[in-house]
């Protein structure tokens, strides 16, 4: 983040300008699990490699010789290690053919700011990673015509649920690259020490509560379960879904859905777990606490795996507990989108196809869950129990559309919801869920 002592107004405008100049390299250390960026390795943030200092000369179409390559700008939100991997794959594309040259632009943690500014100044990259379609789809190219040209099998090879997360109003705006569902992680050592049986895929929340209590009793200074003090509203809707509720109805109206009996039961259950000492709340998502052996169970996406493995944590993963029926998970998915203002759409599509194709899905296997059915089959991905659970959750999570996609002013509602959640779950307030949710209803009638 820029933090010069200049006027706020300047700050805003400077960002626009700096983006237009395209060589800003400052960044924020992201808070843990802050956004829905998928499968991003949570490695320590190091400085971006030098070579990513992008595109000093950036000719739109300098055809001095007539055979100059078409330049495609490709924006990535990854940083450090994953970025080096990505650059290798981009190089692979550039070597594979002679008409297009892809230049990667690494925006890191400033991704949203830079994409927003880029679209505002009509200078967005041709191809970009995307997850927040409601906010940006107006600046993106509708990809349906491109997909149709590829034939029916092209689309069917992707897991269906992923399309819902890469579309807006029925039109596809991004080709799936990766995803993660959420699962229940548990620390095997803490369970062993307390003599409690490991969680299973068919657990209900009652089972979780009972086990959490026992694990806590068997380990001094350890909490059985943890969740964020300030849960991300986007993620939290999955618990409502699991109980047959949602934030909003098909029209995106909150009243009657978010304050429904079944929704309220979920909000209450989490607060009760905290009040009864079954769970603690954590500042971030809880990964640090689990890693430190302070918490026996928590729910998160695939992001934790890298860090847990690195630290040698003895852990397991099962499906999220249900409310008497199979649970549902939110997807954090990433897609590859094309700018509406791109001057070279066909070339951009060529690269999108390459990046989301079979070969690349395989190349990313070590750090990204594949999204293509034939890759999953050929590589026997689901034979790995550590990966299978994510695909199992994916399967039972089809058919749910997050309110994120249905509500136009989601970013405002989300911010208010976040505050309401914090009021409910911050131990220094523990506000009654009815009151907190009623506030939301009155703010957004």
């Amino acid at each position: 983040m820029k933090k010069s002592k200049i006027f706020m107004s300047l700050l805003l405008s400077m960002m626009l300008l700096l983006t237009a100049c395209g060589s800003q390299t400052t960044k924020t250390p992201a808070k843990e699990e802050q956004t829905a960026k998928p499968a991003e390795k949570q490695t320590e943030k190091t400085e971006e490699p030098k070579k990513e200092e992008p595109k000093k000369e950036e000719p739109k179409k300098e055809t001095q010789t007539g055979t100059a390559k078409v330049k495609i700008r490709f924006a990535s939100w990854d940083d450090s290690e994953s970025l080096t991997e990505q650059q290798k794959l981009v190089d692979q594309f550039n070597q594979s053919q002679d008409a297009i040259e892809v230049v990667m632009e690494a925006y890191g943690d400033n991704y949203d700011t830079k994409i927003a500014a880029g679209m505002g100044s009509k200078d967005a990259p041709d191809v970009m990673y995307m997850w927040n379609y409601p906010a940006y789809y107006k600046g993106l190219e509708n990809l349906n015509p491109f997909i149709e040209k590829e034939g029916a099998n092209y689309k069917n090879n992707f897991y269906e649920t992923l399309w819902e997360y890469n579309s807006m109003n029925g039109e596809v705006y991004g080709i799936p690259v990766g995803y993660t569902t959420h699962v229940l992680y548990y620390n095997k050592d803490l369970f062993d020490k307390a003599g409690v049986a490991y969680p299973t895929d068919d657990w209900s929340w009652e089972d979780l509560k009972a086990a959490a209590k026992k694990v806590k009793e068997g380990n001094e200074g350890v909490a059985g379960f943890s969740f964020s003090r300030k849960p991300d509203p986007y993620d939290f809707e999955m618990y409502l879904w699991s109980n047959g509720a949602a934030y909003s109805n098909e029209k995106g109206e909150l009243n009657g859905s978010i304050n429904d009996e079944k929704s309220m039961a979920v909000f209450k259950m989490f607060q009760d777990m905290e009040k009864e000492g079954i769970a603690i709340t954590t500042e971030g998502g809880g990964t640090n606490e689990v890693l430190g052996g302070k918490v026996a169970m928590y729910i998160n996406g695939a992001w934790s795996i890298g860090r847990f493995n690195e630290a040698g944590l003895n852990y397991g993963m099962v499906k999220i507990p249900g409310f008497g029926k199979p649970s549902v998970s939110i997807l954090s998915s990433s897609g590859l989108s094309m700018s509406k203002d791109s001057a070279n759409k066909d070339a951009a599509w060529e690269f999108i196809k390459f990046w989301t194709g079979k070969e690349m899905n395989k190349a990313r296997l070590s750090y990204e869950l594949p999204v293509l059915k034939d890759v999953v089959a050929e590589e026997k991905v689901t034979a790995d129990p550590g990966k299978k659970v994510f695909f199992d959750m994916l399967e039972q999570s089809a058919g749910y559309t997050p309110s994120f996609f249905k509500i136009e002013n989601w970013s405002e509602i989300s911010e208010s919801l976040e505050l309401a959640f914090e009021e409910m779950y911050n131990e220094s307030s523990l506000r009654a869920p009815e009151e907190a949710i009623n506030d939301i209803i009155s703010m957004f009638p």
Binding site: M1, K3, K5, I6, F7, M8, S9, L10, L11, L12, S13, M14, M15, L16, L17, T28, P29, K31, D112, T113, A116, A117, M119, G120, A135, Y136, Y137, K138, G139, R229, K230, E283, S411, E412, E415, L419, E422, E423, N426, E427, S428, S429
Partner: protein
């Protein structure tokens, strides 16, 4: 080339930079504040709509403004007093004082991002060293970053980390006071406390004015720390004005509205600065200035 233009050539790098990167964006944002602009769509002219909405329909505007002003009211005096005390300490003729001068100044060169991370660890309610030290004294430390009553103090402490710059400015001002004044005062029997209040303070009032204004502006624009240390929380207790503007712009994509927000802050800062300047004739002493023009 005509010699008349040579000076302009010399200042041109600065002027061009100023026009392109300061004045231009400033004016652009003023223009933008009259538009409804969601970044991806086309800007739509809505006149004073953004300003009307801000004053009549947005409770967060007043809340953020109040939080920020409250922060400034606590932080600015505290920061100045601490800086002045430190400056007094490092002007004492003691051995090794240079080392302390460096030590006190070092935190000021650390970037805000690093400070946020350090303080995040120091203040952690479970594992933080501050609460650990308090527990050794038998005090149960507050949950700094969790309890809305305390979070603002966390920001204040972290901000005070940069006190070294101000200390150094005070230090040079104190150093430039002629020793003869102190000698004369000592001969007349004034002790160190009297000397401080009747010589040091009056002589450095121009510096106090300068520090007051710059730290007031800095406090009202605080963004880095709230963004990184508390992210506006807990329970929006540190949802400073800077964060409010930033989120309106880059989270809610209301660029026009955020520009309007920013301009209101600009006006607030302008008014406060003018007020301080206005008051300065009553308490700031300039040696070169001839009061009342008597001896002119």
């Amino acid at each position: 080339m005509n010699r008349k233009y040579t000076p302009y050539l010399f200042i041109s790098p600065w002027v061009i930079g100023f026009l392109a990167f300061t004045m231009g964006p400033l004016l652009l944002s003023l223009g933008m504040s009259f538009f409804d602009w969601s970044i991806t769509g086309t800007p739509e002219f809505i006149g004073a709509g953004n300003y009307i909405k801000m004053f009549t329909k947005d409770p967060q505007f007043y809340k953020s403004l109040a939080i920020t002003i409250r922060f400034a009211l606590i932080f600015v005096p505290l920061n100045m007093v601490v800086a002045l005390i430190l400056a007094m300490l490092i002007t004492q003729p003691i051995k090794g004082v240079k080392i302390f001068r460096t030590i006190f100044y070092v935190p000021a060169v650390v970037s805000g991002v690093a400070i946020s991370i350090i303080w995040g660890w120091l203040l952690d309610s479970n594992y933080g060293i501050i609460n650990y030290l308090l527990s050794l004294l038998g005090i149960q430390g507050p949950k700094w970053l969790v309890d809305p009553k305390w979070a603002i103090f966390a920001i204040i402490f972290a901000s005070a980390w940069g006190v070294g710059t101000m200390m150094l400015i005070f230090y040079t001002a104190i150093k430039s006071i002629p020793p003869s004044l102190y000698e004369a005062a000592a001969l007349d029997g004034a002790g160190p406390i009297r000397q401080f209040f009747f010589i040091t303070i009056p002589m450095i009032t121009p510096t106090i004015l300068f520090n007051l204004i710059t730290s007031l502006i800095g406090a009202l624009q605080q963004l880095t720390l709230v963004l990184l240390l508390t992210n506006g929380g807990p329970l929006r207790s540190t949802y400073f004005y800077g964060m409010y503007v930033y989120n309106n712009a880059f989270k809610h994509h209301k660029l026009g509205y955020a520009s309007a927000n920013a301009w209101i802050m600009f006006v607030v800062i302008l008014l406060l600065t003018a007020l301080v300047f206005r008051s300065s004739s009553a308490w700031v002493f300039y040696e070169a200035e001839k009061k009342g023009g008597k001896k002119a």
